[in-house]
């Protein structure tokens, strides 16, 4: 899976924003913290959910199952607005 090219990321004031172009059905804005930003950065290239969990487990000192749950939550949100292409 990968970030839909009609969704761009932007960092401002310490917050990550995922913003869609005018050509998408989603007209809102997604905001998130550092972890969300890490996930979105990884989605700029083709990646699996497992690979995202691996990368964050490497970076953060937190239980793997909690990281996996956070990743799942963020991916579900991004999928719900059409921001992710592929499985």
């Amino acid at each position: 899976m990968k970030l839909n090219p009609n969704f761009i990321t932007h960092m401002s004031g310490g917050q990550y924003y995922v913003v869609s172009t005018d050509s998408t059905a989603f007209k809102g804005i997604i905001r998130g913290n550092g972890t969300t930003g890490d996930i979105i950065d990884l989605l700029k290239n083709e990646v699996t959910e497992e690979q995202i969990v691996d990368a964050l487990f490497e970076k953060y000192d937190a239980p793997r199952d909690r990281i996996a749950a956070d990743v799942s939550t963020v991916l579900t949100k991004l999928r719900s607005v059409g921001a992710i292409d592929g499985e």
């Binding site: 090219p5 009609n6 761009i8 932007h10 401002s12 004031g13 310490g14 917050q15 924003y17 913003v19 869609s20 172009t21 005018d22 050509s23 804005i29 905001r31």
Partner: protein, 254 residues
């Protein structure tokens, strides 16, 4: 197909159009261009050359018609052309360090002030209170969708008029340095407070035009960051008392 030059925000655009309504709509913003190689040669160095040529396809006109139909509205083809051309201009602006923001902009003593909020909050009403309170010191720049230009060298923001200035056609073909932007909310009492860039960004993001091209959208967000650095940001709770204008000015002028 006819053509004319349109000037706004320091840009000159060649507008190619099918319907006469476009000509009338842009009154006050039109300029003669050399439209053929013969006239350009005759005009010599004084010829105004456009920064871009703006035209719309049949498909783009049809897309405007479908957008209107989706909300139960129906307009003339001339109206759809006016809207489609504006959309094309808005898509082009980020290439030039400019973007479009929804709001009411005025200039007081030569300095720009802009008010933004969701539709129906009272931006235009608030701007009318400024005109009533301060008379000829106030000039309306654009009551609906002004252009914002970020100067690449100084980082300063400038607000300017364009023909798409709202149903009452309030605006002028001029540019002013933008001193402050205020996010309006309806409230019982009038009070102004500074707004942090962090709090302002998501609010302003909802009021800027989002291009359909990802690269231009990214450029727009960078310009919005620069805008926040170059302009004082405020939020104001305001009621429908005309004194709201004086409260706003007193709160933002320093």
């Amino acid at each position: 197909m006819d053509s004319f030059g349109l000037t706004a925000s320091g840009l000159t655009l060649e507008i190619q159009h099918r319907y006469k309504a476009m000509n009338r709509f842009c009154e006050g913003y039109r300029v003669e261009l050399p439209l053929s190689s013969e006239t350009e040669a005759a005009a010599g160095p004084a010829a105004i050359r456009p920064d871009a040529v703006i035209s719309v396809t049949d498909e783009e006109l049809e897309a405007e018609r479908r957008r209107a139909e989706a909300i139960g509205r129906s307009f003339s083809m001339g109206y759809y052309e006016i809207t489609a051309i504006f959309r094309k201009i808005a898509e082009f602006l980020p290439r030039t360090g400019r973007f479009l923001m929804h709001g009411s902009a005025l200039a007081m003593d030569g300095e720009g002030y802009m008010f933004t909020a969701p539709s129906g909050t009272g931006k235009s009403t608030h701007a009318s209170f400024w005109r009533k309170a301060f008379g000829p010191r106030v000039v309306m720049v654009n009551d609906d969708k002004p252009f914002i230009r970020i100067d690449a060298e100084s980082g300063k923001a400038f607000v300017s008029g364009n023909p798409w200035n709202g149903k009452h056609r309030l605006g002028c073909n001029a540019e002013f340095p933008l001193k402050a932007l205020c996010v309006l909310t309806r409230g019982e009492e009038n009070f102004v407070r500074p707004l942090s860039r962090e709090d302002a960004f998501p609010v302003l993001l909802r009021q800027v035009y989002r291009p359909s091209d990802p690269g231009m959208l990214a450029a727009t967000l960078d310009l919005l960051d620069a805008f926040e650095r170059g302009v004082k940001l405020y939020t104001m709770s305001c009621n429908l008392d005309p004194d709201a204008a004086r409260t706003a000015y007193e709160g933002m002028r320093d």
